[in-house]
């Protein structure tokens, strides 16, 4: 009996204009979206390859203080299905000693041309959510009210069939209609992936697509049951369609925007610029403090080919007296210990900022979960690893890696080694006397003679006695460090199980809402006045 009713529903839907329009819409929009997204992914891969090369170049280092690698996050191939927030956030992090990774840098947005941003903001899951939720409602909004108006519901129920059977038949009929469309969309997606030479999916990724498909089925079931429920609540299909369309607009377009706006109004976050001013000031003060720990520069300690430390603490000298090198080496341990500890203080400021941002995001997310469409988007982005949690996991992995590198340097006593800041053997560096002898072309042999000359020639620039330029070392000729035993960045942990764990709440919400709506439709239809 259920099958007869289901087949009747299926056939009725199949020959209806809405099915043809829906099918054509999918046929047009899905391949278009896939082509756009695959191209976007390709351009992200190209950018990633370039960034990877830059990162490799950055790691051709001569001194350990430059062990500040760039961690580049590979573009997520599943972003073809759901972009999530992956295109709004950066994709690489430059590690430093003076700050923990705070946010990723790199190109954001989908297009190379930022002015085209608004034209490329849809992905496969968004199109599915928009088109198929509308179809689900269009196939069910008149399931009861339409049949009542038509008079067929009376004919149907004049037979010895429980209303529950009629409803189940209608549900099955809607499923039989919608499922082929959903499967067709996913088939197109799979074909596009298989055909494209630039995209290669692993078994894990295919499994994730399977899970997104499962989520899609629950999502469409939710909208189909919503349509059934509305249809069982109204006597006229005109009223049902109006309510269904209002619900669709509310869930698809109003809720995500309003929830973001409400969260923004309720929980304000300070500006990132203000934070940057504070943290930069903090780090610069800490540098000043740290430099004091070195103590007075001893007599004879000076340099002639030296790069000042970068904000991140990278420093290199290729020309300095042994006294300077020893003074600097001894100071480094305490200076870098202080700076690494200070990074924790800076991180507290940044973490507070991130926590506030996260609280705002969570509030927006929770508010938006009123909408099954938003729940589906969150769920699919989580399964496609393009959600905020995946980004946070990436950032956490870079922070962990930074700790590993620091630990590696500590274990090898590299902070207080000459190799930390100079690639030149200290034993071949000129002494103070040798330096003056060299610069004056032999006129002055010792530091004491130089000081005497200064006393004897008051007002004269000491430069006037120099006849030769500073001794200079071609840094490019210096040997690079062997980094073979330096810990490698292991990437972001994240199997399907972890994504499922992340998306369990969303999945549970979708299942619960669809079951609840089915139950409500069931109750409403049992009480439905068929006259």
């Amino acid at each position: 009996m259920i099958l007869s009713i289901a087949l009747k529903e299926f056939y009725t839907n199949l020959v209806s204009a809405r099915f043809v329009i829906g099918f054509l819409l999918c046929l047009l929009l899905i391949p278009l979206t896939l082509v756009v997204n695959i191209n976007d992914y390709k351009s992200k891969v190209t950018a990633y390859e370039t960034q990877k090369k830059e990162a490799a170049e950055k790691l051709k280092i001569r001194v350990w203080s430059y062990l500040q690698p760039r961690i580049v996050r590979p573009p997520e191939s599943l972003s073809i299905l759901s972009r999530g927030v992956s295109y709004q956030l950066g994709n690489y992090v430059d590690l430093t000693f003076t700050a923990k990774p705070f946010k990723a840098s790199g190109q954001t947005g989908t297009s190379d041309n930022p002015m085209m941003g608004t034209y490329f903001s849809v992905d496969f899951c968004t199109i599915l959510a928009i088109v198929l939720s509308l179809l689900a409602l269009l196939f069910t909004y008149d399931a009861c009210s339409g049949e009542r108006e038509q008079g067929t519901l009376k004919m149907l129920l004049s037979n010895s069939i429980p209303r529950s059977v009629v409803l189940l038949g209608k549900v099955l009929g809607a499923c039989l209609t919608l499922l082929p469309i959903i499967l067709f969309c996913y088939l197109l997606c799979a074909l596009a992936i298989l055909i494209s030479p630039d995209v290669a999916f692993s078994a894990d990724e295919w499994l994730r697509i399977g899970l997104v498909l499962l989520a899609s089925i629950f999502f469409f079931a939710t909208f189909a049951f919503l349509g059934l429920f509305v249809s069982s609540m109204f006597r006229h299909s005109a009223a049902s369609i109006i309510v269904c369309l209002l619900a669709w607009v509310f869930f698809l377009f109003v809720t995500p925007n309003v929830s973001g706006y409400v969260a923004d109004s309720l929980l304000e976050t300070p500006s990132e610029q203000a934070l940057a001013v504070n943290t930069n000031k903090f780090t610069s003060e800490k540098w000043k403090e740290a430099e004091k720990f070195r103590g007075e520069q001893p007599r004879g300690a000076f340099d002639w080919q030296y790069s000042r430390p970068t904000a991140g603490g990278a420093v290199e000298t290729s020309g300095a007296t042994p006294v300077f090198l020893e003074w600097y080496r001894q100071g480094n341990k305490v200076v870098y210990t202080h700076m690494i500890e200070s990074a924790e203080g800076r991180w507290l400021l940044e973490k507070e900022f991130l926590d506030r941002q996260d609280r705002q995001r969570l509030l927006a997310e929770r508010l938006s979960m009123v909408s099954p469409a938003q729940v589906f988007q969150l769920l699919s982005s989580s399964l496609c690893r393009t959600d905020v949690e995946s980004y946070k996991r990436f950032m956490e992995s870079t922070r962990r890696y930074r700790e590993e590198l620091i630990q590696y340097l500590r274990n090898g006593n590299l902070f207080d080694s000459y190799k930390f800041f100079t690639a030149v053997d200290p034993n071949v560096m000129m002494t103070t006397d040798e330096y003056y002898n060299y610069r004056t072309g032999g006129r002055i042999k010792t530091e004491a003679e130089f000081e005497q000359w200064l006393k004897d020639n008051p007002g004269k620039s000491w430069n006037s006695i120099y006849t030769r330029d500073r001794p200079s070392v071609d840094r490019a000729s210096l040997s690079l460090l062997d980094l073979s035993d330096v810990p490698r960045y292991k990437g972001v942990p994240g199997g399907v199980a972890l994504s499922l764990q992340d998306s369990l709440v969303e999945l549970a919400i979708l299942v619960c809402v669809s079951v609840m709506l089915f139950y409500l439709s069931f109750i409403a239809f049992l009480r439905y006045d068929v006259r």
Partner: protein
Amino acid sequence: MLQATDLTKRYEDGLLALDHLNLQVKEGEIFCLLGANGAGKTTTINLFLNFIEPTGGQALINGIDVNKDPLEAKKYVSYVSENVMLYGNFTARQNLDFFAKLGGKKNLKKEDYHMYMRKVSLPERAFEMRLKNFSKGMRQKLGITIAIIKDAPNILLDEPTAGLDPKAAAEFIKILKALRDQGKSILMCTHDIFRAKEIADHVGIMKEGRLVMVRTREEFLEEDLEKIYLEYMQEAVVA
């Protein structure tokens, strides 16, 4: 057999649509319920089909209380509405097939359906025609075909000849007579006093939810039924 015992229906808004209706339609009988709009005729049908719950009394189909065991009771009844609206995108045969299955007849073949449609004089060209192209008369005939296929001992008809041209109505009445001759109990609500006189074994006149008059065929043939009916209707208007 169809039987109403003190069947009463008062709607939520307080309207008493049916007031202690008592009637019985025996096997091989046609009972025509006459009455103005709002007299309670369709309410009676709706109560027999369990579309609404009675406020009091019982509607019995073959002795089964419809309110207590609607699914069992509906096995023994067929229904033809005033405006048979089946599925427009289905052909006549597909509609029959669908409703036959709902009525418990699962093994009918294409030829069987054609045979049933011939029985009610549906033109051959209509058998595989989509229903949206059917005239009202053809749809009513298809409606009664569904009842015939279900082969339930009782048939409820709600204004089945309303809007039919005289030829189509005459054909429809002929089918009903044949069904009565097969022993079916038929309860027909109608405004059409002439058709009622033609086929009814009993005629009941309803007014404001009450069955105000019942006559057997012998009785109403001797009386001037039109005059009695009009008198009741006028009283209703005056009241």
